[in-house]
Symmetry: C2
Subunit: 112 residues, 2 copies
DNA sequence: TTCTTATTTTACCGATTAGCTAATTAGCCA
DNA sequence: TGGCTAATTAGCTAATCGGTAAAATAAGAA
């Protein structure tokens, strides 16, 4: 699978996004990451594997502990991809603006 | 499933992303969208259903034809979500800059 | 060596997905 | 009505996913 598909797939799960959000604050061990969730450790471990395969998270070892670290580069690739479509939502806002202006104009006109 | 998960899931497929890219150029019918792919029409129809459930695409009918239209609002939500992480990739680039500066400095120093 | 902690691996389950073919719906035209 | 075109639905298979429990691995502590 290509990098972008891997990344989007990894992001398409609320648990994995919550893990990323937690890692945005600071690095953490697998146990620390698992703590807020009502999920068994192997489940978290699997989610972390998906995030690592998408290059969204990296791990370093210190004794038995794995320290997980957010890798923002893959997120930047998502940002770059979606940024190419910005003209489209700007256009639709332009259309909305035009629509609202029309309403406003019509409102004024009706008062005349 | 929440909106963001729906959207990321829809984007985690190269065919669906290609459909969006095509729709970024102009609206198109289902047949027109299917044309570049080596896939049967029902398969494309299913992909479009996923895109519609993620609010990434809308359809209007004209006789038998369905005209598909890119809805950029859902993409903007992705952009907004990922934008919250921008400090992290900026930080890592800062660290890279610092690293490269160090190398450059070391290089100059070694020449003295 | 044995114990304990931290984490992963393996094997399994039920649900979902991407692809197919065949059949069906929907709307146009003759 | 019947035939053509556009698209969807139904039903199938093989693969994948998210979760589990139980076993295995790895490393520090006693």
């Amino acid at each position: 699978m290509d990098q972008l598909s891997l990344t989007f797939h990894a992001l398409a799960d609320p648990t994995r996004r919550a893990i990323l959000m937690r890692l945005a604050e600071s690095d953490a061990t697998v146990n620390e990451l698992a703590e807020p969730f009502d999920l068994r450790l192997p489940t978290i471990s699997k989610h972390l594997k998906v995030l690592q395969e998408a290059s969204l998270v990296s791990q370093t070892r210190e004794a038995q502990r794995r320290h997980c670290h957010l890798e923002a580069k893959a997120l930047k690739e998502v940002a770059d991809w979606v940024w190419n479509y910005r003209t489209h939502w700007e256009e639709s806002f332009d259309r909305l603006d035009a629509f609202l202006s029309d309403i406003a104009a019509a409102g004024k006109a009706s008062k005349n």
